[in-house]
Symmetry: C2
DNA sequence: AAGTGGTCTAGACCACTCA
DNA sequence: GAGTGGTCTAGACCACTTG
């Protein structure tokens, strides 16, 4: 590795290793070579390779355990799939979900989709409709939009598209941070009917964008949630 | 430093350095010795000292800049003081605040205070009342509770107690993470009057606990926010 | 006992800032 | 040019897991 480039070696290493996961060369759940072997393979010192692996662990791509080795994390594992879901029951428990997904449609991005997904006027999006049930009762309706460019052939997909985490896994997208805007809204006619509440009654409006590891927006999702017995849990550091 | 203790040296170093800030030996805004000198002072290798300083930077206690040196962060600086405030205007801008603080009272912790602040039945708390104004109009009322044990003599304090960040600074408390529970509530009579809205109209209810670096709860604050033209911005990683 | 990641050392040189 | 943090090396040994 060239040590006189502007970009530090450990960042180049990180990118090279991330690429191995993104391309499927390293699959979720499998072990990767030990640190010493990797360092030799790339021709760097163990400490430098270690720093790259530290970064990947911080990105939640790897799990290392002393004495055992290093495994590639499965993005659709319970822990990682739930990381963009901060909705809880009032007592703090996670909501035991059942998701009903509607058909996936495709069309030109509207104004809000262009803003949230950073698309140009002529770009197209896939749209998905979901209803989340708790104890056989709908408590939230969602409308999600995804750039077609990132999900080639999604419309023909047979799967019912459970959530962005699983979808991203299918299309080789690695997810990074997400931003969610929470506000109080009024139930529209559709939302009121779907949730079984009165028109214009207050709901939690959840406006979330999930970004890829490269920072590109991957999904924009609006959610309207029946607010009774539910809360949103945010953490700050 | 003893390298055969169960606790890694870099963690011991971090704690020792945090202590220097907590006790005021290193004051906010001042430079600390360079990494080499610190390593020599503690009898460790530079790399180990560096790792400890990395951790402190991640805790937002220090700012390091290549060529310049390392300074102790001021917790009441704009950047750090605003870190527990995720409320924004709908367009995303930060809300230009004016805070009106009421008198500080003292009394036995009630049931919810005991839970949120992890207190025993007989522990006592200070209570503060605040109203946040935007363009001379109240948009949020707050009720904060703090364990008396952490703020000795707070009731006699002449200051109008602006926020937890400044208060913590005065009493040598270093702040860590915070948790906030967001839900939709109905304006009580008091809240409705203070905010100039109708009784029982929907408000954002913000239930926040700020923890110290040691993990102990430092402040519990309930806030009721007029929801029009405002949103809560959460980030997930 | 062998293999893994975790800690630690004692340097070297680079990139940046400022007097 | 002196001083700082940032990067990188090439090892050593420790703690843990597994066969």
């Amino acid at each position: 590795m060239n040590r006189f480039l502007a970009r530090p070696i450990y960042l180049q290493l990180r990118d090279a290793l991330v690429e191995r996961i993104a391309t499927g060369q390293w699959k979720p759940g499998t072990m990767i070579p030990n640190e010493g072997d990797l360092a030799r393979e790339f021709g760097v010192s163990p400490g430098t390779m270690r720093k790259a692996l530290d970064l990947m662990e911080a990105m939640r791509l790897l799990t290392r355990r002393q004495g055992r080795g290093t495994v590639v994390n499965d993005p659709s594992s319970e822990e990682l799939a739930g990381r963009y879901t901060n909705l809880r029951r009032t007592d703090g428990r996670v909501i035991a979900d059942e998701v009903k997904s509607g058909e996936i449609t495709e069309g030109p991005a509207n104004e809000r989709e262009c803003i949230r997904l950073r698309l140009a006027k002529d770009d197209r999006v896939f749209r998905a409709h979901r209803r989340r049930l708790h104890e056989a009762r709908a408590y939230m309706v969602e409308e999600a939009s995804m750039p077609t460019a990132l999900f080639p052939g999604l419309a023909d997909d047979q799967n019912p598209s459970p959530g962005i985490t699983e979808l991203a896994g299918h299309y080789g997208l690695l997810l990074g941070k997400a931003e969610e805007r929470i506000s109080v809204g009024e139930a529209s006619l559709e939302v009121a009917e779907a949730l079984g509440i009165a028109f214009a009654s207050p709901v939690l409006a959840l406006d979330r964008v999930v970004y890829g590891l490269d920072g590109r927006p991957v999904e924009w999702r609006m959610g309207w949630c029946h607010s009774a017995d539910r809360m949103y849990l945010a953490e700050m550091r």
